[in-house]
């Protein structure tokens, strides 16, 4: 119940206000139980002075009989413990009885109160209703009215009547409720006055704190009383404030005492510690002469109690550590002496008590807030236990001496007895047990430390967890469990490296090295030694010693040990020495600048640089990217590019339901899950030629080379430096350095000289073979195949062939072989080709060649009456001078030719022509078969450049048709009769005679001829018809046509030209009555040799006209 608590030694502290009862006590005794239960059941508003907020409180009460002696004196401060409120009870209903006795009694009672200035009283008239009496008329005045009139004319609320609730009736409940609330209110009013007085007193006392004789403990009890009152009222938070004030006040005294203003009473707290009973939360009481620990423990227990009541369990935990730190500090400030370990014991017990309490009351929704505070407590407890362990010789590396055993006994005694239940041993039990044996100590310590670490991890304080792990590692190291120790140290190392705390990381490496040395794990030891030896944060001497250890241990290695470069060796730069692409079979050379952090020179047995083919790189692109990012730094997730993908939802009928983009967040991976960098394939790598390689501390330039056997693009992968079995491997080289290895294929060319190729002359071409970037097989050949009519040869003295094989003699890369090839094309086909077959081209290579003839000839047929002459013009068509000799024309055996040429050789040059003339001898006859002629001429080159001095024959074949003369045309112009001369403007006569040949008419060609006079219009004007048709069918005699022509100019004028054509008349369809031409008449020309115009080239002398008039 509020305001009462049961202490362990069964003492009651009752802070409930005391209410006295006077008058008819037997009436009250019937109501007492009901009333004392009913009072605290409901809350009541408490209005306070000094602007403090209104709080609703529950108030209870103690009832005591009224006695004059117990009444408090005026101005007494501790009203709380005095009767506060006074009630007079009466059952009287008869006004007369009242007047005779009760009135005096009340008067006396009130007088007693008034003399002590007590304003808090109440008169209660209890009415007993009977069923019978209820029917009666109400009396004129009641006792209540009388009392009210007599004693409280102005304070009506001081008198109240109540229907006896003993008789259960509905009417009585209301009046009962009225009584309870009236009492509650009035008691609170008087209680509030008492509390105010107490507060005032506390304040006064506090003001006196610097006066001589002031005692903290006395004051403490006084203020605690206030706290208890507040607690009674249910104002736990305000009660807590009182305790907090006391806490702070004491701290301030200690600090002040340390700085100089020592106060006497502090000496009491400076006594040497004899007991260090564990802190106990829950009901507690303060010893009479408390030590500082006891006082502190008491205050904290009270604070914790209040916190528990206001349901702030986690705050108990959060206050605990500062409280404990404060205690230890105060103990040192006050120079309190204590046996070694005593304080640690007490601190440990306090931690455990708080933790246990928290565990008991912890609620699921507060785990987070609570773990945040318990984690450091667990850590603190484990630390304290370890201190005790060290003190008592319980650490795994030793056995307790007898002196240390004594300490344990002393400490256990000082802890006192605080047995818990067998199922839940109290902290004291636990500590005593832990101090008993090494085994129990180990178990306890490890349990606590693991708990602390686990809790830290749970709340995300990874670094703190790692540091506890580090402590644990040392403990395990003492236990000889090196594997566990190494695991914890390894975790710590990772965290340090992640945060880039190099010095701590280096230090942890040293610890790890010790650990690995103990477990004789050579491989890991070497790894760690390498890291230590290259750390700039470690003392040089230590680095040297680990470096030496490492080198020593290398002999023990049986398998290769891969160690990433990390900080041991840094790649400053990597350069490809070759310029441009590297040709196959050349040496690719890479220069790397390495920064060795080893403290001394190290002899490397190998240095390798892996190269990756680019094709593979593409396939592994995704994978590599991930690796790369891991290598550089764990990237901020928020900085990474989001992987947005298209997302389509289809309905069941395969229609599109929705389209959206989806960002599939990259799954979070532990960045440190892969310790070693991805290992490249070192089967294909550049090597350092100069071995052994000595890496000196600081910058080193090494050159790595390799013959490029494969073509393609390569990227430099990882660099590895081997020291015997130790393989130091870099991460992938970033930014990427790429190499390109190329191969040049052999090439072949066929070139002609400057001048164009000529037919029928042996000329030279050049076949050039260039070997590419690699050496070709010996005995390789090039095969040249010439097309028909073309022959070739590369050997000087051998005959020309249609195909040749040329052996390639130069097989060295980039060598060139030029072979001169003789080539001869026959005179007939100008377009030729040579096909090149060779091993480096899957298909034969055709080379188109076009030749031009060295000579051309033109043929003309000349006619003199019936005689025929062949005129051949030979034209030089090449730059060379050719010697032409022995022209011959041959029409076969039947036809004889008369040669009119000079039989001597001639030189012909470009565009120079030579003419030859022959007469064909034949007799005119009916049938004139076409003549097939063959013209031949011998020629040789005159130039010295070409060795081809052979005499070659130029041949030309031709055919002559329709060469016989069919008609002889003769024309002459004569002046008209009587005129002697032809004059300009005077009409002359053109006589045209057409004479058919003797054989002409037998030829069944055509019988009609058309003649046309084609006069030049500026010279002649033809009068009348210019054309006409003549026929020789009936009469084969020559026909003469006379036409009038008029010369228009004077001088020697050429005769008008005469053209004869075959005339083919229109054909008529005779069957019809009407004649319809089926075809139009048409003309067909004669071949050149068929018409001989004997007057061609004749001129007529025209003299000027007689007078000028005609000229117009």
């Amino acid at each position: 119940m509020n305001g009462t608590e049961i202490l362990e030694n069964d003492l009651f502290i009752d802070r409930r206000p005391i209410i006295t009862c006077a008058g008819e006590l037997e009436v009250f005794s019937l109501l007492e139980d009901n009333l004392s239960q009913a009072l605290p059941q409901d809350s009541c508003e408490w209005r306070r002075s000094l602007g403090r907020p209104v709080r609703s409180v529950h108030i209870g009460a103690n009832f005591a009989p009224f006695s004059t002696a117990a009444l408090p004196k005026p101005n007494q401060w501790d009203m709380i413990r005095q009767p506060l409120f006074h009630i007079y009870w009466t059952e009287c209903v008869d006004v007369d009885i009242y007047k005779t006795g009760i009135k005096d009694e009340i008067e006396l009672w009130l007088k007693e109160l008034a003399t002590r200035e007590i304003p808090d009283w109440l008169i209660v008239v209890v009415e007993n209703y009977d069923g019978k009496r209820a029917n009666k008329l109400l009396p004129r005045t009641t006792v209540l009215d009388k009392i009210r009139a007599d004693f409280a004319p102005k304070q009506g609320d001081r008198c109240i009547s109540v229907i006896n609730p003993g008789k259960v009736e509905s009417r009585s409940a209301d009046s009962w409720r009225g009584l309870v609330s009236r009492v509650r209110h009035l008691v609170l009013v008087s209680y509030a006055r008492a509390v105010a007085r107490l507060e005032e007193h506390v304040r006064q006392q506090r003001e006196k704190r610097n006066e001589v004789g002031w005692n903290f403990l006395q004051y403490f009890k006084l203020q605690e009383e206030l706290a208890q009152v507040l607690e009674m009222l249910g104002l736990y938070d305000e009660a807590l404030v009182q305790y907090d004030e006391l806490d702070a006040l004491f701290s301030q005294f200690v600090i002040n005492g340390h700085t100089g203003d020592a106060v006497n009473w502090l000496v009491n707290f400076q006594k040497a510690l004899e007991r260090w009973h564990g802190l106990k939360l829950g009901p507690s009481h303060l010893e009479d002469d408390p030590s500082i620990l006891e006082l502190r423990a008491y205050i904290f227990a009270k604070q914790a109690h209040m916190l528990l009541l206001i349901n702030k369990i986690w705050e108990i935990a959060s206050r605990c550590l500062p409280f404990l730190h404060n205690c230890t500090r105060e103990i040192t400030l006050l120079e309190v002496t204590a046996p070694p370990g005593a304080i640690s014991c007490w601190l440990f017990l306090a931690c455990m008590e708080v933790l246990q309490t928290c565990e008991k009351f912890n609620q699921a929704d507060q785990v987070e807030a609570y773990s945040l505070n318990t984690a450091p407590l667990w850590a603190y407890a484990s630390q304290k236990l370890k201190e005790l362990g060290e003190l008592c010789g319980l650490m795994p590396n030793g056995t307790p001496s007898s002196e240390q055993l004594h300490i344990v006994v002393g400490l256990s005694a000082g802890m006192g007895d605080n047995p818990g239940s067998p199922g839940a041993p109290s902290p004291t039990d636990k500590l005593k047990k832990a101090l008993c044996s090494q085994e129990a100590f180990n178990k306890n310590y490890l349990e606590l430390a693991e708990l602390a670490m686990g809790t830290y991890k749970h709340i995300g304080r990874l670094r703190s967890a790692r540091l506890i792990g580090r402590d644990l590692a040392f403990f395990y190291l003492l236990l000889g469990e090196t594997q566990k120790a190494a695991a914890f140290l390894g975790d710590a190392l990772k965290t340090f490296e992640q945060d880039n705390w190099r010095e701590l990381a280096a230090q942890t490496q040293v610890d790890l090295a010790e650990c690995y040395m103990k477990s004789s794990d050579t491989r890991k030891f070497i790894r760690t030694c390498a890291a230590i030896a290259s750390s700039p944060y470690i003392d040089t001497l230590i680095r040297w010693s680990y470096f030496d250890d490492m080198l020593k241990c290398l002999d023990l290695l049986e398998k290769p040990l891969v160690v990433p470069f990390k900080d041991i060796i840094k790649i400053i730069s990597v350069n490809v020495r070759n310029d441009g692409p590297i040709m196959q079979d050349c040496v690719m050379e890479v220069e790397a600048v390495l920064d060795s952090n080893f403290p001394r020179e190290i002899l490397c047995t190998k240095a390798l640089l892996s190269i990756d083919h680019d094709k593979e790189q593409k396939k592994l692109k995704d994978k590599n990217c991930r690796n790369v990012s891991k290598e550089i730094k764990p990237k901020d997730i928020s900085m990474q590019r989001l992987k947005i993908q298209r997302h389509l939802d289809y309905k069941q009928d395969k229609q599109l339901s929705s389209a959206s983009v989806v960002c599939k967040t990259t799954p979070l991976k532990r960045a440190d899950s892969s310790a070693s960098p991805p290992q490249s394939d070192f089967t294909c790598c550049l090597e350092c030629a100069k071995l052994p390689l000595v890496l000196t501390p600081g910058l080193n330039v090494i050159r790595l080379s390799r013959k490029a056997t494969e073509t393609g693009k390569f990227q430099l992968g990882q660099l590895a430096v081997h020291v015997r079995e130790l393989e130091l491997i870099s991460s992938l080289i970033i930014p990427k350095v790429s190499l390109e290895v190329k191969r040049e294929e052999p090439t072949v060319r066929l070139d002609k000289g400057l001048s164009p190729l000529l037919l029928g002359l042996e000329q030279r071409m050049e076949l050039s073979v260039t070997i590419g970037s690699y050496e070709i097989e010996k005995n390789s050949t090039v095969k040249l195949i010439a097309s028909r009519g073309l022959s070739i040869q590369h050997l000087e003295d051998s005959p020309l062939q249609s195909s040749i094989d040329i052996a390639i003699e130069q097989t060295q890369p980039f060598s060139k072989m030029v072979t001169s090839i003789r080539i001869l094309a026959d005179i007939f086909s100008q377009d030729q080709q040579i096909t090149i077959n060779w091993p480096w081209s899957p298909k034969p290579i055709p080379v188109q060649l076009s030749f031009t003839p060295p000579l051309t000839c033109g043929i003309r047929l000349h006619t003199v009456k019936h005689r025929k002459f062949v005129h051949i013009t030979l034209v030089g068509k090449c730059d060379m001078e050719l010697n032409v000799d022995l022209p011959k024309l041959n029409f076969g055996e039947d036809v004889k030719v008369i040669d009119y040429n000079v039989p001597s050789s001639q030189v012909i040059m470009n565009d120079v022509s030579i003419s030859y003339l022959w007469e064909i001898q034949f007799t005119p006859q009916d049938e004139a078969p076409p003549l097939k002629g063959e013209y031949k001429v011998q020629y040789t080159t005159q130039s010295n450049k070409l060795e081809d001095c052979e005499t070659r024959t130029f041949q030309h074949f031709f055919e002559i048709t329709d060469y016989q003369t069919l008609y002889h045309v003769e024309a002459h112009v004569e002046p008209t009769k009587g005129n002697e001369f032809c004059r300009v403007g005077a009409v002359c006569q053109l006589h045209l005679t057409i004479r058919p040949g003797s054989h002409t008419l037998q030829m069944n060609t055509t019988n009609s001829l058309m003649y046309e006079v084609l006069a030049e219009q500026s010279l002649w004007a033809v009068c009348g018809r210019t054309a006409g048709v003549v026929s020789f069918i009936p009469d084969p005699e020559p026909q003469t046509v006379i036409m009038d022509v008029m010369p228009l100019n004077s001088g020697y004028l050429p005769l008008p030209a005469i053209r004869l054509s075959k005339y083919i008349p229109a054909e008529y369809n005779v069957s019809d009555k009407v004649l319809k031409p089926e075809t139009h008449p048409r003309l067909e020309p004669f071949s050149p040799g068929q018409v001989y115009n004997s007057s061609k080239g004749q001129q007529v002398h025209v003299i000027a006209a007689l007078n000028d008039v005609h000229i117009q």
Binding site: H258, T332, I459, L467, F496, D499, W501, E503
Partner: protein, 139 residues
């Protein structure tokens, strides 16, 4: 006043570390490192509650029997940590604040140096001297 001062970069790596007693350095480094847990916690919860973003001072991060560790975070997430001996009871919160402000100001001066590469460790002797002066309360 202070026994140790540290400047920690936004990636949580130490940029500067000094302490009055060089023998304590390693030990104090562990303490500063573990205080980063609390700094991160405060920064994370700070963004949620929307507390005054202009307040850079984080207050006491945690306390040990021997030391108290205070924190301060600049807007660019550079963390300053100061460790105070917990037996030094005279020191007030305001003094810690002012130490942090001075530290921030000389840090800002330092990083304004055009030859300073952001993210590099601070090795300047004069900077060290000024920090030491702040720590001992002479600045």
């Amino acid at each position: 006043m202070a026994v140790c001062a540290a400047i920690i970069g936004k990636d949580n790596s130490p940029k500067y570390f000094t302490c009055l007693n060089p023998y304590d350095e390693l030990n104090l480094q562990y303490k500063v490192l573990s205080s980063l847990d609390v700094v991160e916690e405060k920064l994370n919860s700070g963004t949620k509650s929307g507390s005054d973003i202009r307040e850079l001072y984080l207050g006491m991060l945690y306390s040990l029997e021997t030391h108290k560790i205070y924190g301060y975070v600049t807007n660019t997430k550079i963390k300053f940590v100061i460790i105070v001996d917990s037996t030094n009871i005279a020191i007030r919160d305001n003094e810690i604040r002012s130490m942090f402000r001075k530290l921030h100001s000389i840090y800002a001066d330092y990083v304004c140096n055009p030859f300073h590469i952001p993210g590099d460790q601070i090795t300047s002797k004069s900077f060290d001297e000024r920090v030491k002066n702040i720590m001992t309360g002479n600045a």
